[in-house]
């Protein structure tokens, strides 16, 4: 008879095969990474530009990014779309604080033609007046809709206070930016950060060398001609920032601080600490605030990383009347980690969970490429993940407590609520 109250025995994850994409040099500062082991017809191409939000203000980086396919002197935006869509391609683009990334998904047989179309669209972008006007009007509408969302309001305020020490990082788009931006400013940003700002190319597809050499030679004129530099020090403004929004029935909460990225010696162990606190379903915050009190649908923590620094945050949306109660509980969970040693059972669980997730993150060419990029972005190689395995195995309750004491002090947090 099967005894269902006893769990099956577990086998530990011994090792993980991390496969690096092949590196091809475009120039001294810019490389192409090629993941060739794709067992099907799919292809993904990413173009990274040094055109993130920190490189401009008044929404200009996001505007230029959104206008990349808006037409050249030869081709209208509709003609460009028709070529890419006609070849079954999917185009995505977006800006983060430090980067702008353009991605196409397609079948490898269509890669060459889609790539050529994309390069032409970027190189010869004309910023036609009617396209710019239409785009800004659409984005203004979207901005107004976003401003109705408590999560957007909280994130916006959080960013302002978190990056308060640096004007470029703290800038957010204001309503008037949609009306006051000048075409010349867009053209200048494009020239500086796209025509001369390509910082990395990534290709996931089973294609031959000649495809790679063509991409390299086409990309060379756009490539950065100096090393990519980003800010090393940021400082958040600590304290409480509460924005009431009439009619809201939930409150969005963000708690966080500037911390570090993969380059810091405490990073890997802190990653374990923040997993325990809030980065998996059984985390302390989820167990307390969702599964015990039912205040929220979800709560989580994350380490968000830049090239030279990073930040830690807690994010949730809770019932409006329990805003202060939730903040109190988050604070209590920070303090528990500072004052009491984490039970070994919990540490064992989190270790296994993290190793399982790392195994999953290395599974398949797309996941593996993204895992590689996450380290490469901070000048780290795949050794970083072998170090991660070592750290996970070596973690102690004392180390977790010490890190909580060092980095999770409530007085140092930026605490934002909107709703």
């Amino acid at each position: 008879m099967l005894n269902r109250s006893i769990s099956p025995s577990l086998k530990a994850i011994e090792n993980i095969d991390f496969v690096a994409p092949e590196k091809h040099v475009i120039n001294s500062y810019v490389d192409l990474y090629h993941m060739k082991n794709v067992p099907n017809e799919t292809a993904r191409l990413d173009l990274y530009f040094d055109a993130g939000k920190c490189r401009g203000s008044h929404g200009i980086p996001a505007f230029v990014n959104g206008l990349l396919l808006s037409g050249t002197d030869e081709k209208s935006s509709m003609e460009i779309q028709e070529i890419i869509n006609g070849l079954g391609g999917f185009f995505e683009s977006g800006t983060s604080v430090e980067n702008s990334v353009i991605t196409v998904y397609c079948l490898r047989e269509n890669l060459h033609q889609i790539f050529e179309t994309l390069m032409d669209a970027i190189e010869n972008l004309a910023f036609h007046d009617h396209e710019v006007k239409e785009f800004l009007s659409d984005r203004k509408q979207r901005h107004n809709i976003n401003m109705e969302k408590v999560s957007f309001l909280a994130q916006r305020e959080f960013q302002l206070k978190l990056f308060a020490s640096d004007h470029d990082y703290a800038s957010v788009t204001e309503l008037e930016d949609f009306d006051t931006v000048k075409r010349e400013e867009l053209i200048e940003f494009h020239r500086k950060h796209y025509l001369n700002g390509l910082s990395k190319v990534v290709l996931v597809a089973d294609v031959e060398k000649d495809v790679i050499s063509n991409i390299i030679s086409r990309c060379l004129p756009l490539a950065l001609r100096s090393p990519l530099m980003h800010i090393t020090d940021l400082k958040n403004t600590s304290g409480h920032f509460i924005n009431e929004k009439s009619g809201a029935i939930q409150t969005a909460i963000r708690v966080g601080r500037i911390l570090f990225n993969k380059k810091h010696e405490d990073y890997l162990d802190f990653l374990i600490l923040q997993t325990i606190l809030g980065d998996y379903f059984g985390s302390r915050l989820m167990s307390n605030i969702r599964e015990d009190k039912g205040y929220t649908y979800g709560i989580g923590t994350a380490l968000s990383e830049f090239k030279e620094t990073g930040y830690f945050l807690v994010a949730t949306e809770v019932r409006k009347d329990v805003r202060d109660a939730t903040l109190k509980e988050i604070k209590k969970e920070f303090e528990l980690l500072q004052n009491e040693l984490c039970p070994s059972e919990e540490i064992e669980l989190v270790k296994n969970y993290m190793l399982g997730q790392l195994l999953k993150s290395a599974d398949g060419p797309y996941a593996m490429t993204d895992l590689f990029l996450s380290a490469q972005l901070q000048d780290k190689g795949l050794d970083f993940y072998n170090d991660a395995i070592t750290s996970i195995h070596a973690i102690t309750p004392e180390r977790i407590r010490d890190l909580a004491r060092q980095y999770l002090n409530w007085e140092e947090m930026t605490i934002v609520a909107a709703g």
């Binding site: 269902r4 969302k149 059984g282 969970y353």
Partner: protein
């Protein structure tokens, strides 16, 4: 060609196995043939609330998530109007942990009052976060009620109203479990680098002793044929006017299903589609516009939705839209248009099939339709569609008397 094996246990559980030798992970996916369409109209939102309770401990195991996480795995679930689907992804050497957990909650839940009480609150916060506290968040609650008069698709999976969730009792929970969470009402798919014999042995070991029950019968009222155009306007605190045109369409088993899906692509899948080019780019009437189908098992809808430009009235837009819809009924798509649409379908399919979790979920969905092997015929069915098929589908579907229109009017936007 996606290969799989199928076998059935004596208690009626259908099992699919898909071998993938390239991954160190394994997927255990369980589809239960129950969704919001199986609820009664005074107890809506129940299938979804129940999904939450499935994580609150089973008869022999106090908590679902902890052991799975300890095995290096993660899991989640979703409820639709048609089905409830649970999946676990974990390192393959620990597959038995997932089978142990999944089989135990199929055997019986713990049914604790605490779990019911907390999950009621969690689901109510989910209701607020996703439907009530978002601009346009309640649109589908309103739209379903406009489209359906009899069929239970007239409420969303989250439920009609919060009070239905507040009033759910332990008795309801137990009855729901007894009726739907039984082997004959489930499809299990295991995907990973294993051998069929091992899969059979493990599934038999963990699921073999779950008592067999007859699959529940389904008696869903059929939606009467719509004969008149329906229209409803709601005023909300949103910055922009929005429109939702919903056209009744065939069910998932009907031969025209893929044709109408393709028609929706032609109208509004991407920035080259008809409505985007004409109504947005050429006429500047809308700031965005999309067309898609709901993809439900019973008769669903083709939806055209978007937001108006600030200086455009609903009437101006309406006239231009119907003119465009008439064009696609009057003349077939060009071969260039059709090949664009089919190329996009091919790309999406190729990407969808690359993840092992997707493959496992799709195999279960197709098995629910009658045969998991249909997964390998889908591409061919799409590629066989002609421009005349699409024209015919447009003529039957895109009629005013077959349409429900929901307008969301911005409270401060005087028209």
């Amino acid at each position: 060609m996606l290969k799989f094996d199928r076998f059935e246990l004596e208690n009626g559980l259908t099992v699919l196995f898909h071998k993938d030798t390239t991954t160190p992970m394994v997927v255990v996916n369980t589809l239960y043939d129950v969704g919001a369409r199986d609820e009664s109209n005074d107890k809506t939102g129940f299938a979804h609330l129940f999904e939450h309770l499935m994580f609150g401990g089973s008869i022999n195991i106090p908590d679902f998530d902890t052991p799975l996480q300890r095995a290096g795995g993660e899991n989640n679930a979703f409820t639709s109007n048609d089905i409830t689907n649970y999946y676990d992804v974990l390192p393959i050497q620990n597959i038995e942990t997932a089978l142990w957990l999944e089989s135990d909650r199929m055997l019986s839940l713990a049914f604790t009052d605490k779990s019911l009480e907390v999950q009621r609150s969690v689901v109510i916060e989910e209701f607020k976060q996703r439907y009530l506290n978002q601009p346009y968040g309640d649109v589908w609650l309103e739209l379903r009620d406009l489209i359906y008069k009899e069929h239970p698709y007239r409420w969303a999976t989250i439920g009609k109203e919060i009070s239905h969730i507040e009033n759910a009792t332990m008795e309801d929970v137990k009855a729901f479990f007894a009726k739907y969470y039984i082997p004959s009402n489930a499809i299990l798919c295991i995907a990973g680098n294993m051998d069929l014999a091992d899969v059979k042995q493990l599934v038999e070991k963990w699921y073999g002793d779950i008592p067999s029950e007859a699959k529940p019968e389904r008696n869903i009222p059929k939606e009467p044929k719509q004969t008149e155009f329906r229209e409803k306007t709601i005023v909300r605190n949103v910055p922009t006017n929005a429109f939702y045109y919903a056209f009744n369409m065939v069910n998932r088993q009907h031969p025209d299903y893929f044709t109408i899906d393709t028609l929706s692509d032609a109208l509004g899948r991407d920035k080259s589609s008809r409505l985007y080019v004409s109504l947005k780019k050429e006429q500047n009437l809308a700031s965005n516009i999309n067309a898609y189908i709901t993809g439900s098992l019973d008769e669903g809808v083709l939806v055209i939705s978007g937001k108006l430009n600030d200086n455009i009235t609903f009437q101006e837009f309406d006239a231009a839209l119907w003119k465009e819809l008439k064009k696609i009924q009057d003349a077939p798509l060009s071969s260039k248009e059709l090949s664009r649409i089919k190329n996009k379908i091919r790309t999406s399919k190729e990407f969808q099939d690359q993840g092992i979790l997707n493959r496992a979920m799709h195999l279960c969905s197709y098995e629910l339709l009658g045969d998991a092997g249909l997964i390998n015929k889908e591409s061919e069915l799409y590629q066989k569609i002609t421009n005349l098929d699409i024209q015919r589908a447009a003529q039957t579907t895109l009629q005013r008397t077959n349409c429900s229109l929901l307008k969301v009017k911005a409270a401060n936007n005087a028209e």
